[in-house]
């Protein structure tokens, strides 16, 4: 099997996939998305590639390259449909809700004024998230009406059109969240991510401490349901704990795995490649 690896930087994860492929005797062909151009007509390019693993850090470039490669007949993991759902928090919420999956209480509002009305129903503190984005970037905690007004008004003036669609979510104050790594029909690892000292976010990318988490039947069941609801084959499912109940926060379609490997010892790159070989 020959795997095309789409990337825009070779970070730890992509390097470990390339090294693992060498160990397993698999052909892997890296494609730097910044140097790619793709034809729309006349069928398939890349006769030396069987399927693509999309690992672009850029959501937009990853999504559109996947769309074109799929139109040429390639299998791309994750699919355009999955990337569209997971890359947009509102689409994720709607998809999860359609499958009856528990998630934090969420509202969407389309003006500063309607957002403040929604916040009255949601209660403070609440979280404002951009529809597209990751690593906790531009996510804000709205502690009270005054801080909400200040932040919403600044987005109204300074933000792009996407920043003026207000995705508002209840704040879950559990001190940690759980990242669950799903490959195909299996949960392969899970870790707790603790709040960053002096912050209210837990993203390992911005310094949250990571620790192995036992995969209970409840965690496994919910993560697999969330992956299915978002059409994900290789995804990171983020869970919150609230009063012994698990809630799905987000599903990530190009999940990093450096921290979960170091917390759990699970060889994620090996498992990704084993899964891709089952798709032949």
């Amino acid at each position: 099997m020959s795997i095309g690896l789409i990337y825009n930087q070779i970070s730890w994860e992509e390097k470990s996939i390339v090294e693992e492929a060498k160990k397993q005797g698999l052909k892997i062909k890296p494609f730097d998305i910044r140097k790619m151009y793709l034809k729309i007509q006349d069928g398939r390019e890349f006769s030396d590639v069987d399927l693509f693993l999309e690992r672009s850090l850029s959501y937009t470039k990853g999504l559109f390259s996947t769309m074109v490669l799929e139109s040429q007949g390639f299998r791309v993991i994750n699919s355009t449909e999955c990337q569209e759902i997971c890359g947009n928090k509102l689409k994720t919420s709607v998809s999860l809700n359609g499958f009856g999956i528990q998630q934090p209480k969420t509202y969407v509002a389309f003006s500063c004024e309607s957002a403040l009305e929604a916040l009255e129903k949601l209660g403070y503190p609440a979280i404002l998230k951009p529809l597209i984005g990751s690593w906790g970037r531009l996510v804000a905690i709205l502690k009270d009406e005054q801080s909400a007004k200040a932040i919403l008004e600044s987005r109204e003036v300074l933000g792009s059109v996407f920043h003026k669609v207000y995705y508002l979510q209840e704040f879950i104050d559990s001190g940690r969240d759980i990242r669950v790594f799903v490959i195909g029909e299996s949960v392969v690892a899970a870790m707790y991510r603790y709040l960053i000292p002096g912050d209210w976010r837990s993203n390992a990318t911005i310094g949250g401490k990571a620790e192995a988490c036992e995969v209970t039947p409840e965690i496994e069941d919910l993560a697999l349901k969330a992956a299915a609801a978002t059409k994900g084959e290789i995804v990171g499912v983020d869970l919150f704990e609230r009063n012994n109940q698990l809630l799905v926060n987000e599903v990530n379609h190009a999940p990093g795995f450096r921290h979960i490997v170091s917390a759990t010892g699970v060889n994620i790159a090996e498992k990704i490649l084993e899964y891709l070989q089952t798709l032949e």
Partner: protein, 57 residues
């Protein structure tokens, strides 16, 4: 192979199988560097671009 950090000009050894696009930390100034060229003269780095609005995992 050798490469020079464009930030602090420290020259250091890199493993031969380093890939174009790979992110390396300068062992001297700890800045994140991206490998942009491999040739007989060694490795060429640029300071890595580490975040854009739609970047994430």
């Amino acid at each position: 192979m050798k490469g020079k950090c464009p930030g602090c000009f420290f020259e250091f050894d890199i493993v031969d199988d380093v890939m174009i696009g790979e992110i390396i930390e300068c062992p001297d100034c700890a800045i994140q560097l991206e490998v942009v060229e491999k040739n007989n003269g060694g490795i060429v780095f640029e300071v890595a671009h580490l975040e854009e609005e739609d970047w994430g995992e």
